[in-house]
Symmetry: C2
Subunit: 376 residues, 2 copies
């Protein structure tokens, strides 16, 4: 029988919050397979090295906290996921299952994460659960823990801010050495090196360094193109620190800014400031998006703002909420979001400016210190 | 209606091979969601940035080759996946579906990849397929394309070898600068930098640099521990080049090797050589594993060889076949596998030596040039 150990803070609060959500849905427990959710609820850090290689899963129910993993991660399981019973499946998941099976008989209605469980793993667990009784339901949930994760506590916000400061420090050094003739790839590599030097754990995502016409592609990959005088260079990158991501976009012009650049840049910046001033708890995500979009539309560039205004950032680079024109959710205090309007003109280039902000009751607090914006 | 364009080689051969496998199973087409399979069959390079963020999927059937992706990847879809109809779902997958739906009416029995499709995406596609007719089956397949991928063609083997040479070059430089007092993390960072300098596209996986007792953990993460005289240092890392991975393990001893190290090292090397000499097409993967395992068992260290002998390497670091004691598959010519026996002694450290080899009809050809093994 599994002995209960206390789960330390902040994981305990998160688990209690999850249990409350499960209760609302009359679910007795949940299988957690999404890697960031797993870490958020337990402190277990290993990521999943390949899509088809899971480092483990949690089973959480009333009075029940199990971390299942294979022997490779035994040490991490014991050190990192305090309060969780380490179920090390030495003989493979199925053969080892009886070790925990008996403790799970209180779980009468199981949930799983439909967005992160592969169909195959779903079938495997469904079979294992049948071990408890043929009629036990195994039901999909959608973004249940992601919604809890969206609202950050103080310590998470501090960690994100530290990650962002590393990112901003890197940006400030990189623009000092920006010269025509450097390739986008060289600059991207410089970003990577500087993140390491400044103590970041690595990149939060593949960085974008896009010059001239490449800057017209919102998700350009750094190429061997040399940056040139007389064109914009768009940066979008972020570091990770203690598991938390940051996300920063800036656009600079090499040489003397043209009138077109000044016009586009000013409009994007105006849209960003407008959104930063207006977002707060209680506003819908579509209304947040509209704050910036309306400025760009009025400026005559509406059709060139091709993506959403922003997204949540935390253990993942892209998480809830989504500040987009298509689905209205409520902004809540503690959410950390990006505010990143952009204008992309095919053949010419683009401008994107991205800050991060934490949603508060009456306003939002921009987390960025960097104020290197042009003031045309 | 979708116009048919010729698919260029080598993708055409791969698609034809897949169609043959589908026919054997009476399946009229398949939805391909696994990122490496997608690239293997079409040339479409984007990876999936997050577990819940797909860059796209293929639909392949008789006379049918579609690449579905969102507008972010429109350019890549057209440039990279020649011969595939680019289905860009601008209004979201569901709303845009009618654009391709009519062309899919010949697909009477669909397959999908059970290991890479999330339960949620499975449901979404199942609904879309119902669009064609309520009773159209949507059936799971397991490792179908992975099995085709396991046997490499000449050009793939050349690419993997190039990736391995980059990795070996990095190792040779790193050991030149190995000094007591360097931390495992510093050395891991050096590996990363050198891969970049030598033209690699990046790391194939998170590198292992494990010294002293840390080397007893087969999957140790580089720590702040300083490497010391009188202990082993275990390296396991690899680069990527043009999408293909390499994987190399070496163990070196700082200072004068102890008798224990000499004994363990010689045994591991003997097991490796024995396996390299014995593997060939037609042998089972369990027999391959036993070639090395029997040497280590005879030497009295059987219980300390805690993992499988090896695995396939290609577009993914870990792919088919698995050279393990648990499941017997046949080795086939063209498979590229690692041969990596190891002995791990808790508290003391470990030794792992990993080469890569291509399976041939009558033997196997080791791809490594590095011959820096100790000869005790």
């Amino acid at each position: 029988m599994i002995k209960k150990q206390p789960i330390p803070k902040p994981y305990l609060d998160r688990v209690l919050c999850l249990l409350k959500e499960l209760k609302k849905r009359s679910l007795s427990g949940i299988l957690v397979s999404q890697p960031e959710n797993r870490r958020y609820l337990s402190g277990f850090k290993p990521s999943d090295p390949q899509l088809n290689e899971s480092s483990g899963f949690l089973i959480i129910g009333k009075g029940l906290a199990i971390l299942g993993t294979d022997p490779r991660f035994e040490e991490e399981a014991q050190k990192q996921a305090k309060g969780y019973y380490p179920f090390i499946y030495r003989k493979g998941l199925e053969a080892s299952w009886p070790e925990v099976g008996i403790s799970l008989k209180t779980m009468k209605k199981w949930a799983f994460e439909a967005d992160s469980l592969s169909f195959h793993t779903f079938l495997r667990f469904k079979k294992l659960i049948r071990f408890q009784g043929n009629s036990i339901p195994f039901l999909p949930t959608y973004q249940l823990i992601e919604e809890i994760r969206a609202q950050k506590d103080r310590s998470e916000i501090k960690t994100i801010r530290r990650s962002l400061f590393i990112t901003e420090g890197v940006f400030q050094e990189v623009i000092k050495t920006l010269r025509p003739g450097k390739t986008e790839k060289e600059i991207a590599w410089q970003l990577k090196q500087l993140i390491h030097q400044k103590g970041g754990d690595g990149l939060a995502f593949d960085p974008i360094v896009a010059s001239g016409p490449n800057a017209a592609l919102p998700h350009a990959e750094p190429s061997d193109r040399e940056i040139q005088k007389g064109e914009p260079v768009l940066f979008d990158f972020g570091s990770k620190w203690k598991g938390y991501c940051s996300d920063l976009s800036r656009t600079v012009f090499l040489g003397r800014p043209t009138d077109r650049f000044k016009e586009v840049y000013s409009l994007v910046r105006k849209a960003q400031v407008q959104a930063e001033k207006g977002i707060r708890a209680g506003l819908t995500t579509t209304a947040a998006d509209a704050l910036a979009r309306s400025v760009i539309e009025k400026g005559g560039y509406g059709e060139y703002f091709k993506h959403s205004l922003g997204h949540g950032v935390g253990l993942a680079t892209h998480e809830l909420p989504s500040l987009s024109p298509s689905k209205a959710d409520l902004l809540k205090s503690g959410m950390v979001v990006t505010v990143e309007p952009g204008i992309y003109l095919p053949g010419w280039g683009g401008v994107r400016l991205e800050n991060m902000a934490v949603i508060q009751e009456k306003n939002a607090k921009v987390l960025n210190k960097d104020q290197s914006f042009y003031n045309f």
